[in-house]
Amino acid sequence: MLLPHNPCRPYSTDELLYDGLKQNDDRAYACLYAQTFRSFAHYVQSTQGTPEHAQDAFQQGIAEFYVAIQSGKYQVSPKARLKNVLFEFCKRKWINELQSARHRKTQTLESYMDQEEENILDELMTLASNVEKVTLLLDQLGKGCQQVIRLFYIEEKSLAEIAEALEYTPKTARTKRYECTEQLKKLFWKHN
């Protein structure tokens, strides 16, 4: 990845930045990352999180934000600044994590977002909850199925590469991907 010294230079407005994000331009994501991460890291550390927590939570959040943009779930709105929405989204996810078993603490959710931003955030939180569920269910599949799904959808390997790596025939790799993904989908919708 080669990034320019100032990845934000082409994006003087939120609309231009959104166009860059929609086009999956690394410079646009680098700009949004650089603009938002530092504030979020401050916030996490102010709630007794570590820099590693901040990094992990932010990367998960921006990855979900990316999928929401690519799938069209997130539409640009003049009222909702991109970096504000991303920050607020990561913050809510972090608060949820704080309220989970490991860091049981009561946090008040201060929100200054208007209705339009709230709707966007709800959509993003639903996606985040799906991701969490899929991650857990993936571990319930057999080892072979986990490998095929991870290699195809997460490592983004081709079926030919999967066949080579797992010593399958190309046809078996194709069928495995079908059967394993269907198995994961069944589990997902059964628990939904």
Binding site: P7, A30, N130, V131, K133, I154
Partner: protein
Amino acid sequence: MTESEFERIDDFLAGKLTTTEQQRMVEAMAQDDQLRQAVEQHRAVRESLQVLAAKKRFEAMHLQLDRMGLLAEPEDEEEPEVSLEEDTTPDLEVIRSEPQEPVIRRDVPVVSIRRNYFWQYAAASVFVGVLLGTLFIVQYRGKEGDQSEVTFRQYFRPDSTNNAPQLPSEVTENEKELSKAIDEYRHNRLKQSEEKFKTIKPTSKGTAQYYQAYYIGLIALEHNQTAKAIDQLETARQAPIIELQQRSEWYLGLAYLKAHRSDDARQLFTQIANTPGHAYQQKASNLLQQHY
């Protein structure tokens, strides 16, 4: 759901269908509730898996932004300069503390005679050295070239059907032409593919120019036109799309290898091997271990 229905839906959601097929799918979904539901069910799981893949991309991005100092606190920004100064000071002290050797000798006649012999010997030695060196290099290059070719053949695979970079679904500029040209490449119709790529006139703003350069570079590489391949892949490497950038880097490394630009190849493969999350990280490590 049958396997073929599954593949159609998965390709639809991955943006792998042609514009016409995509349109047909949208129309079919509008008329068929069951199909629409199947797509939505598939989409929810696929998107979640896509997030896990995207996270790796942002881990790599974090490292690079951090290295560029774009994530640092303002007061930390001067630290590297301070540490550089600390590094240089002891070196200067060492140099200053070294004893001073006499440089000029005053024994003129002896020096004069020695100088004459010295230059004769030196000239003869240089001549013999150059001669032997040339012979050695010719022989070494031959062996190195053979080895480079063997390694290239071992690692080069055409970017096959499922291995090809996906066009972002938003690319509308030249989308049809690009899809057709890529399709020709995927079906190993290299001549037709190159002709189609050459007719595309991308704008400077879009990403089509990088896909065009990438595939023309790959085709040139398969036709042993290494200079052309290097030129095109160096352009494709500037793409603002990580996936395409990484693929271009890998094939550019192979093109350097084929062109016997061993140092450039080693430098690029080392960079790939040291980039966390690079799609060719493992392959580059293996190649470096084996070839160098």
